[in-house]
Amino acid sequence: MIGEEDLQRLAVLNGLELGAFGLPAILANLQRIEQVAHLMSAVELRPEDELAPEWRP
């Protein structure tokens, strides 16, 4: 699960100063998104689910 250190690193990478915001609420939101992302990663996808047309040689 994403923790406070990860959040701080992500913020630096995106040029955001987190001191202006409510850190616990942002962390809780990002952790919720992470949980949902795990549900997404469990889906067995097919080539036609890719965002671009399937590439063939």
């Binding site: 995106n14 915001f21 942002i26 939101n29 992470e34 992302a37 549900l39 889906v43």
Partner: protein, 409 residues
């Protein structure tokens, strides 16, 4: 009703509801003087969610930050199309800041109140649009729907709403929220006005005169759509289906995952859109949305891209259903509008966060851009609830055929 009467009614009655953020009286009165009475929407007053460009006004999108933007140099094309059909713009309407909410509890402009009970929310994010129509201040309003922002307030306020197929109506001059999910659509007091307004804005076959459900294969959604709605709401949808003679049920598979995909895509696209202002002036955002915007701006690309793939995967599954049915009926909201300020509500005994959960039943559908008419079907605890009439992409005519049958049943 003359434009002058409509404006007088808005000035007298809107303060109790707080649907309007501006009244365009001079423009409306000038427009009325040059009106062609033969036009299909001749003299119909309408108002727009304040994320539509209106010439001479900054496009607020419910924010404080956008007050600093230059005034729009032209109306959004959908406004021009409605005016070409004779409708008259009388004002702009309240919304959740940057459309990121289902309740229109806007910190900068105050909450919009539900005309059915002013202690309750109007829904959102097109809450001003639905409330203005439900209060009888205008018969027609424009809104936008990314995850349910037309259908949730239409359901909560008991008015008709249309979220057309993704890409059907022109979004030029409309302030975005999540670009790959945003839709424009009308809300109206009657189905006639809803259909006429949609016809004025679209380029396909007109729907105003379509009638009859003979030959349509209609089913009522069960599974996820029953498990996430109060029994009384399901009973109202069941009764509406019964009146149409619909006995077939259908399960839309993987709706929960589709909602998850919409949730991630919205967070990421919305967060990225506002990242420059989150860096420069974080204190000027509505506290109701700012934490979600920041979290969304930090979403890793892998999560976002996987959500987009899941969206396509879900689309294929639902398109397979449309081989066997033409229209699917489902509740629009899990229950009626919560009180203003209410944090939690109950769905089948489960305590859920009220604001995000209002979109439980709309998000899976807009995730893949299907057309939906939201129809008022009754009341629970004295407040309205609506039903989604869902069709395959580009088949708004099917939605309207069923809506007409419900209207006359």
């Amino acid at each position: 009703m003359s434009v002058a009467d409509a404006i007088a009614a808005i000035r007298a009655r809107d303060p109790a509801i707080n649907a309007f953020t501006a009244i365009t009286a001079d423009r409306a009165l000038a427009r009325e003087r040059s009106l062609d009475p033969a036009l299909p929407l001749a003299g119909v007053p309408f108002a727009v969610k304040n994320l539509f460009d209106v010439e001479g006004m900054p496009t607020l999108a419910g924010s404080k930050i956008n007050r600093d933007l230059p005034a729009a140099r032209a109306d959004a094309p959908v406004i021009r199309r409605l005016e070409q059909a004779g409708a008259i713009l009388v004002g702009t309407l309240n919304m959740d800041e940057y459309a990121y909410g289902f309740s229109t509890e806007n910190t900068h402009y105050g909450p919009t109140r539900n005309p059915g009970n002013p202690q309750h929310v109007a829904g959102g994010s097109s809450g001003g649009s639905a409330a203005a129509v439900a209060a009888g201040l205008v018969p027609l309003a424009l809104g936008t729907d990314t995850n349910g922002s037309i259908r949730v307030p239409a359901s909560f306020c008991g008015v008709w709403g249309l979220k057309p197929t993704f890409g059907r109506l022109d979004r030029t001059g409309v302030f975005p929220f999540a670009n790959s999910l945003d839709h424009v659509g009308p809300l109206a007091a009657t189905l006639d006005v809803l259909a006429s307004a949609y016809d004025a804005m679209q380029d396909g076959e007109p729907v105003r005169t379509v009638r009859g459900i003979d030959g349509l294969r209609i089913a009522r959604a069960v599974g996820y759509f029953e498990e996430n709605a109060e029994p009384e709401v399901c009973a109202l949808v069941g009764a509406a289906a019964e009146k149409l003679g619909v006995r077939r049920t259908i399960e839309i598979p993987e709706a929960a995952r589709a909602r998850g995909a919409a949730f991630i895509i919205t967070a990421s696209e919305g967060g990225q859109l506002h990242l420059p202002n989150l860096r420069k002036r974080p204190q000027d955002f509505d506290p109701m949305i700012v934490d979600r915007l920041v979290a969304g701006a930090l979403v890793p690309a892998a999560w976002y891209l996987q959500a987009q793939r899941v969206r396509r995967w879900f689309y294929r599954k639902v398109m397979a259903l449309f081989e066997h049915v033409d229209v699917i009926l489902a509740p629009a909201t899990p229950r009626p509008a919560q009180r203003i300020g209410q944090e939690m509500f109950s769905i089948r005994g489960r305590e859920m966060p009220a604001r995000p959960s209002a979109g439980l039943l709309t998000q899976p559908i807009s995730c893949i851009g299907l057309p939906v008419v939201c129809a008022p079907v009754g009341k629970m605890d004295g407040l309205p609830v609506g039903m989604q009439i869902i069709a395959a992409p580009w088949r708004e005519d099917h939605c309207f055929r069923v809506a007409r049958a419900i209207e006359s049943s």
